[in-house]
């Protein structure tokens, strides 16, 4: 019932062999499965660094919070040691601490547990082309919604997503996309009183 990540050890003590070899039985890299740790040693060596990337992000966020907080003025009304700086600095310290602990954890062989789910197949790595196309469709909507209106930009978003996810019934997808975007425009306008931008189709709808 657990998808492909059954052997992903949550913490260092459970994967001692990795510490010895320096290898990793972590989640699958491209072209491998975590059930076959030997065959993924090359791919997972790269994984090591990306796990450290999380620590770098946490560190950056933590430093940002602290630096931003130091630039704040103390509130004149506040009494005692707690002011507007306190929480950002505390959060910043929490993030920096976690970044350090995460580095130690990863160095000792700990790996983040990838999330499973109904439609998720963790036996292959992330499909960056699909993500790029999705993000593109999403960005197209954000760029276009106020210029050409939701009925068109929403249809582009919907169609782009179906394309990114591998549906190739173009005509059917275009029809569904347009029905969805025009339908929601009317639903929100007439049914809920929320005016999504009509854009180019102003006056027609």
């Amino acid at each position: 019932m657990t998808p492909a990540n059954g052997s992903t050890g949550p913490a260092a003590p459970e994967v001692p062999p990795d510490r010895a070899t320096g290898g990793v039985a972590g989640p699958a890299g491209p072209g491998g499965s975590d059930r076959l740790p030997d065959s993924t040693r090359d791919a997972s060596a790269k994984k090591d660094y990306s796990e450290y990337g999380v620590a770098v992000l946490l560190l950056a966020l933590g430093i940002w919070a602290i630096v931003d907080a130091v630039g704040l003025a103390d509130a004149s009304t506040a009494r005692g040691p707690i002011g507007p700086k306190t929480v950002p600095i505390a959060v910043g310290l929490l993030l920096v601490t976690m970044a350090i602990l995460l580095v130690i954890d990863v160095a000792r062989g700990g790996r983040g547990e990838q999330e499973g789910g109904e439609d998720v197949d963790l036996s292959h790595g992330s499909d960056w082309r699909t993500i790029g196309l999705l993000a593109g469709a999403f960005a197209a909507n954000a760029l276009l919604i106020e210029r050409v209106g939701w009925p068109l930009s929403g249809a582009i978003l919907f169609f782009g997503t179906t394309y990114a996810l591998g549906s190739r019934s173009y005509i059917r997808n275009v029809i569904i996309s347009v029905i969805m975007s025009v339908g929601t425009w009317y639903l929100f306008y007439a049914g809920l009183g929320i005016k999504l931008p009509a854009g180019l189709l102003k006056g027609i709808l």
Binding site: M1, T2, P3, G6, A11, V54, L58, A65, A69, A73, D74, A75, T77, A78, R79, G80, I82, P84, T86, V87, P88, G92, L94, M98, L101, L102, R111, G112, E113, E115, G116, G117, E118, D119, V120, D121, S126, D127, T130, I131, L134, F138, A142, L143, E146, G154, L157, F158, T161, T162, Y163, L165, G166, S167, S177, M180, S181, T184, I194, L196
Partner: protein, 522 residues
């Protein structure tokens, strides 16, 4: 009885035709959306929030009541028929439920889940109605230090209880608290972490955060790992519940309710532990424990009732203290804040119509749910076959509408994308989502309570722990933090015999619950 009288007034609010319609719509939409694979109760509420933007608060929350239980039940249907549940609360249900479905007993599994949910939901909601006024009476005596302590408890509890890595849990909490800090500091009026961007001065809209982390993050994550092979969806057919099924189900329903409600009601919650406890209990008490692992109906009835009772229990701290313990409750709290209300002990005084209308609607929604689900189970099952490109296109599509309509601003769409990418990487690297969402929504409230406590104490730090209540809470927090490592040490010294919970099904269940912990309430 204070609660009962107020509840009757609540029914008067909820039973008007228009409000009944909203409750019905909520249940229908909640179930339909919740059944869709990859969409759990929290995402269901987040995606459906825009529909309530123009409603009166009372009607909006009546609709939420329906969505809440509908989304919950929808998730169970998915896990019974697909076996790979998207949320930790349904993990246990999926074990025996899917085995039953594979043996051609899917209809009975869905029925025992539906009836168990109804019974647990009804008793749980009654518990909520009776307990809420009592807690409120106690809560009005709570001061700022007490609130702050309970909120710290909520942070620590969701972080340590869920997921397998505490470091990643606290990292996620830190990210959430950081996002929650963005905006103008209400006390000093200074901008914090806004990078000088005017749109960030008011903070990030909770809809954008919730939809970004749950919906967009999930869509990106699933898209990157979309299952190429077709899913094994079990047909819903076969006999309904037999007399024997009823005989075997009713006790687990009641026991599940008794286990789930208290776990939901304490601000340390989540449904993961109580559903597992219920499963273990039923297995121990079953006359024929060898059925477990082959599709035992007790293993569906108990955990499913537990799940719903804990959902009802979770509304106690939410409504009386303003403290969410699950992602779903956090999104509800965000919805309250969207209407300018802060749930807490005063909410029952200032908005009695709304709160009791909401509670009454939970009863009504539960009944509608039962009426809808027994006949419509096969229709819901068909929703599982929706082609994945359309499903995830729909999620991104409605996520975009929701984020845009919140403020009519394209800035929010870009923010949604950024937060969605963050959600993607959190899923990739095992950072649980729930601590982040609780941090974002509860963080600013906790800061306010902390600063209020210190203002009362004139800046003395002892103002944070000078009440007996807060001291007790801090002791509990300390136990949560140091207890498990010590227990592990002791166990290792005894020779590492493990938890001794018996054969594999139970062990697998817990492991599975951990593997899916990130998905809790998604």
């Amino acid at each position: 009885m204070d609660g009962i009288n107020s509840l009757i007034e609540g029914f008067a609010t909820a039973l008007t035709p228009i409000n009944l319609l909203y409750a019905f719509l909520g249940v229908l939409l909640g179930t339909a959306i919740g059944v869709l694979p990859g969409i759990g109760p929290a995402m269901t509420i987040a995606l459906l929030l825009p529909l309530t933007y123009t409603l009166e608060p009372t009607q909006a929350f009546i609709m939420f009541a329906g969505i809440y239980y509908g989304g919950m039940y929808g998730g169970s249907t998915t896990s019974i028929l697909l076996n790979t549940p998207g949320e930790s609360a349904s993990v246990i249900t999926a074990i025996e439920g899917n085995l039953m479905a594979k043996k051609g007993r899917g209809a009975a599994a869905l029925a025992t889940a539906a009836i168990g949910s109804f019974i647990a939901g009804t008793i749980g909601t009654l518990g909520l109605a009776l307990l809420a006024p009592v807690i409120v009476d106690l809560a009005v005596q709570m001061g700022a230090p007490d609130y702050f302590a309970v909120m710290v408890l909520a942070f620590v509890a969701v972080t340590t209880v869920l997921g397998s890595s505490k470091i990643r849990g606290f990292a996620s909490l830190g990210i959430g608290l950081l996002i929650g800090t963005i905006g103008i500091d209400p006390t000093s009026g200074q901008q914090r972490l806004t990078l000088g961007i005017p749109e960030l001065a008011d903070g990030i809209d909770v809809v954008v955060v919730a939809v970004g982390l749950f919906a967009v993050g999930e869509a990106l994550w699933v898209a990157a790992h979309l299952r190429r092979s077709s899913l094994d969806i079990v047909h819903v057919d076969g006999a309904r519940m037999t007399r024997d099924d009823w005989r075997r189900s009713w006790k687990p329903w009641l026991r599940g309710t008794a286990i789930g409600f208290p776990f939901g009601a304490i601000p340390a919650g989540g449904a993961e532990i109580p559903t597992f406890l219920s499963y273990a209990t039923e297995k121990k008490l079953a006359k024929n424990p060898e059925d477990f692992g082959k599709g035992a109906i007790e293993g569906v009835a108990g955990p499913e009732a537990t799940n719903n009772a804990s959902a009802a229990g979770g509304l106690v701290p939410l409504l009386t203290l303003g403290i969410p313990t699950t992602a779903t409750a956090a999104v509800m709290l965000g919805a309250f804040q969207g209407y300018g209300m802060q749930p807490g002990p005063r909410l029952l005084d200032t908005q009695p119509e709304l709160v009791w209308g909401l509670i009454a609607s939970l009863f009504i929604g539960n009944a509608i749910l039962l009426g809808l689900n027994l006949p419509l189970a096969t229709v819901w099952a068909r929703l599982l076959r929706i082609p994945r490109p359309y499903l995830y296109a729909g999620i991104l599509f409605f996520a975009s509408i929701g984020a845009y309509a919140a403020n009519n601003s394209t800035f929010d769409l870009w923010l949604l994308l950024i937060i969605g990418v963050l959600g993607f990487f959190m899923r990739r690297y095992g950072l649980p989502i729930v601590p982040a969402i609780i941090g974002i929504i509860l963080g600013p409230v906790a800061e306010e309570q902390m600063r209020r406590a210190l203002q009362i104490s004139d800046g003395e730090l002892s103002g944070l722990y000078n009440t007996a209540f807060s001291q007790i809470v801090y002791v509990i927090i300390a136990l949560l933090l140091v207890g498990p490592p010590i227990a592990r040490l002791v166990r290792n010294r005894r020779g590492g015999k493990g938890t001794g919970s018996g054969p594999d099904a139970g062990h697998d269940a817990l492991a599975g619950a951990h593997a899916h912990a990130n998905a809790e309430g998604v």
